[in-house]
């Protein structure tokens, strides 16, 4: 048994721990797609922790953290492991603290419409249990089947209905958490005094371990209105979304697909029973690998006016929800507005179909990797006035290396998130090391695409992440996002909450010099922190 886990198990004989090899492999990573490349190359569980501990109460979390503080043992809090930015990357001296044994509803106040729920509660059962009582949280991330309340808070999660209910940070009234000294603190939302909740939300396990959250609830919707609209171009679509949000309309769902993504949505690559059709969009793996060797030309063709016309233009899917005829009246107002902006009404079908298959897309990634390719997503955001530059800049940067498509599914009165999906294959050319294998060359393409896209996002005045977070994958770029002053502030916050730096060390910001990180490349970052 590793020394740190042995010491922990001795100190807390009543708390479940594990040093089992299978458990350590299972907790060695999150769902960062670059991990998938490593796994495909045979590097399974490269970053195994010393062990895992499953506390069942806040008091146990507090005592474990106090022990870790006293012994200088690093701890990584863990929800359901569905993060996609390497927010979990243990080393052999690290203890993973899994919160999924903490699932209690501590207080449901039906009059105030609030719920105090423990951090390990999984997303879908939470929403289903609320629905049975006539409520909704209004938070529907694509990961809802495999994510927890604590994970949502840690990563500043967004759900599919953010247009009406906001992101997770718009739902939290109070947090109970354990700081790096083991102190239990209860943070409350406050309008005329210091409000520390926004500092802990999004801190990705580096400031404190969230043990429960008091969340705002809404009455479950009784009625919905559905519609789909096509537009000549993606820009026509987002201008319509901007006008809608700035007119005060708040659709629960508003999703704009670029022409290629819209073509897939219209064709329906998802079967009627909800199962994914598998594979990649209608093409054989070998053909797709071949096509993806020249992503620049394909992207250019499809993104231009010809491609847009050939594919049928962009598509906006809208769903309003609420009570009585309110949703239908809002939809009529949105439709009237859209039809002054070159929209063509496509009936209720696209929106109803989207709702039926709302979580299916997450299951398309595995076949892509199995086919020898890779895929990933990048969610950037900017004010509306910078959206064109952000869209063009990131699309062009990614498009040099990978095939790219986009949709816009989180809009606000002052700006919007662009969600780029991309797929790529192994790099080739003179600058690729001789003898490099397929997966190693795939990593080269992957890193080049991310490096170029992150630089383009910053250059355009956008933000690097809207709801996936930073993890270790974007940590080297945080100085570009926040400036040197902002990075120093985050470090100061880390010292204030966690003086010994035991909470998820190396996450969110690269460690101060001497650092194993280099400015903007993934491989060195990952390999050198491995011990």
């Amino acid at each position: 048994m590793p020394e740190s886990l042995e010491s922990l198990a001795r100190a807390f004989p009543d708390v479940r721990t594990s040093e089992d090899a299978a458990d350590r492999v299972a907790y060695s990573r999150d769902l960062w797609p670059r991990h998938h490349l490593a796994v495909r190359a045979g590097n399974v569980g490269e970053h195994r922790p010393a062990g895992i501990v499953w506390p069942t109460t806040t008091d146990e979390v507090s005592r474990i953290v106090r022990w870790a503080h006293d012994t200088g043992t690093p701890i990584v809090p863990f929800g359901a492991g569905s993060g996609v930015c390497a927010g979990v990357l243990p080393q052999k001296d690290i203890i993973v603290l899994d919160l999924k044994k903490m699932t209690k509803w501590r207080a449901l106040d039906e009059r105030a419409r609030t719920l105090d729920v423990e951090a390990g509660q999984m997303g879908l059962p939470l929403e289903e249990d609320l629905n049975r009582r006539g409520f909704t949280l209004g938070h529907f991330p694509s990961s809802i089947l495999c994510s927890t309340v604590g994970g949502w808070v840690a990563a500043r999660s967004a759900g599919q209905c953010s247009g009406m209910y906001g992101k997770i940070e718009d739902m939290v009234l109070a947090l109970e958490c354990v700081t790096g000294t083991g102190e239990i603190v209860n943070l409350r939302h406050r309008t005329s005094g210091p409000n520390l909740i926004p500092l802990v939300i999004g801190s990705e396990g580096t400031l404190a371990i969230v043990t429960s959250a008091t969340l705002r609830l809404h009455e479950a919707p009784k009625t919905r209105a559905f519609a789909g609209f096509s537009f000549p171009t993606t820009e026509h679509g987002w201008e319509a979304m901007r006008a809608m949000f700035q007119a005060g309309l708040r659709p629960a769902v508003s999703r704009l697909y670029d022409p290629f993504d819209a073509m897939l949505a219209r064709r329906g690559s998802v079967k009627k029973d909800g199962a994914d059709s598998g594979g990649t969009p209608g093409l054989g793996a070998a053909a797709l690998r071949s096509v993806l060797r020249r992503p620049g030309a394909i992207n250019e063709l499809l993104d231009g006016a010809f491609g847009s016309k050939m594919l049928g233009g962009s598509l906006v899917v809208l769903i309003f929800e609420g009570d009585g005829d309110g949703p239908q009246r809002d939809m009529e107002q949105a439709r009237a507005l859209f039809e002054t902006m070159r929209a063509k009404y496509e009936g209720e079908g696209p929106a109803r179909k989207w709702l039926l298959h709302r979580y299916s897309v997450s299951y398309r990634q595995a076949p892509v990797f199995a086919a020898g390719l890779f895929s990933d997503t990048m969610e950037v955001a900017a004010p509306w006035s910078k959206l064109r530059a952000l869209y063009d800049g990131v699309r062009r940067a990614l498009g040099e290396h990978v095939f790219v498509m986009a949709h816009l599914s989180h809009a606000y009165p002052d700006g919007c998130c662009i969600y780029f999906s991309f797929a790529g294959t192994a790099a080739k050319g003179k600058d690729v090391p001789k003898g490099a294998g397929w997966d190693e060359r795939s990593e080269i393409t992957y890193d080049r695409a991310w490096k170029a896209a992150m630089a383009a996002a910053i250059e355009a005045g956008g933000t690097l992440a809207h709801h996936h977070g930073v993890g270790r994958s974007k940590a080297p770029r945080m100085a570009h996002e926040l400036g040197a002053g902002g990075v120093d502030v985050v470090r100061a916050l880390m010292r204030a909450f966690d003086p010994k730096g035991i909470l998820n060390p190396g996450n969110l910001l690269p460690p101060p010099s001497p650092a194993p990180y280099i400015d903007d490349a993934h491989p060195t970052q990952i390999r050198e922190v491995s011990t």
Partner: protein
């Protein structure tokens, strides 16, 4: 709230300089901290916009003119932006999109305007309602509204306390943050 958590360190001197910058596409305005709320509102009204703040609730009336909204933007944000709609009333909207601020050690912090982000802690929280202990706003990017636009409202039920007293452990954390920011 503990006395250490509320100590005001300075106020912003009112400025009459009309140096606001409106981004009409994004419905944002950048405004220096020294501008008063009513001066900003007057400037916005001339262009068909409003901040949508209840000026009567925003702070003390101007001593010279007696007008509501005589408080500077810097002081108003340091006080927690009283008179602004609750953040829970329209979850898709927000008041402060970005800022430039000075930190206790004199360093500058710049948060570019953005609708939402997930890049670590929301550092704008250092500047709102903290009486300048953690950051002092120099320039703010605020959300504005067309005067004729509908304002969605999903208020919390009455009885939800959005202004509870600061607990001892919260005050200790604020003190710790202030110490760390000052000694960098």
């Amino acid at each position: 709230m503990s006395s250490t958590a509320t100590t005001r360190t300075a106020t912003t001197t009112p400025s009459t300089a009309d140096s606001i910058e409106i981004d009409p596409q994004s419905l944002l305005v950048s405004v220096p901290a020294g501008k008063t709320l009513d001066a900003l509102e007057t400037a916005l009204a001339a262009r068909g916009f409003t901040l949508g703040v209840a000026l009567d609730l925003a702070g003390p009336r101007d001593a010279a003119t007696g007008s509501a909204g005589g408080i500077t933007i810097g002081d108003w944000l340091a006080n927690g932006a009283p008179g602004a709609a609750s953040v829970f009333a329209d979850p898709a909207d927000h008041l402060l999109a970005g800022l430039e601020a000075t930190l206790p050690d004199g360093q500058r912090l710049e948060i570019r305007p953005g609708p939402r982000r997930a890049v670590g802690p929301d550092l704008t929280a250092l500047a709102i309602g903290t009486q300048r202990r953690l950051a002092s706003v120099e320039l703010a990017w605020l959300r504005i509204h067309r005067r004729d636009a509908r304002r969605p409202a999903m208020p919390l039920p009455e009885g939800v306390d959005l202004d509870p007293p600061v607990s001892a452990e919260e005050a200790r954390l604020v003190d710790a943050i202030a110490r760390e920011l000052a000694k960098r």
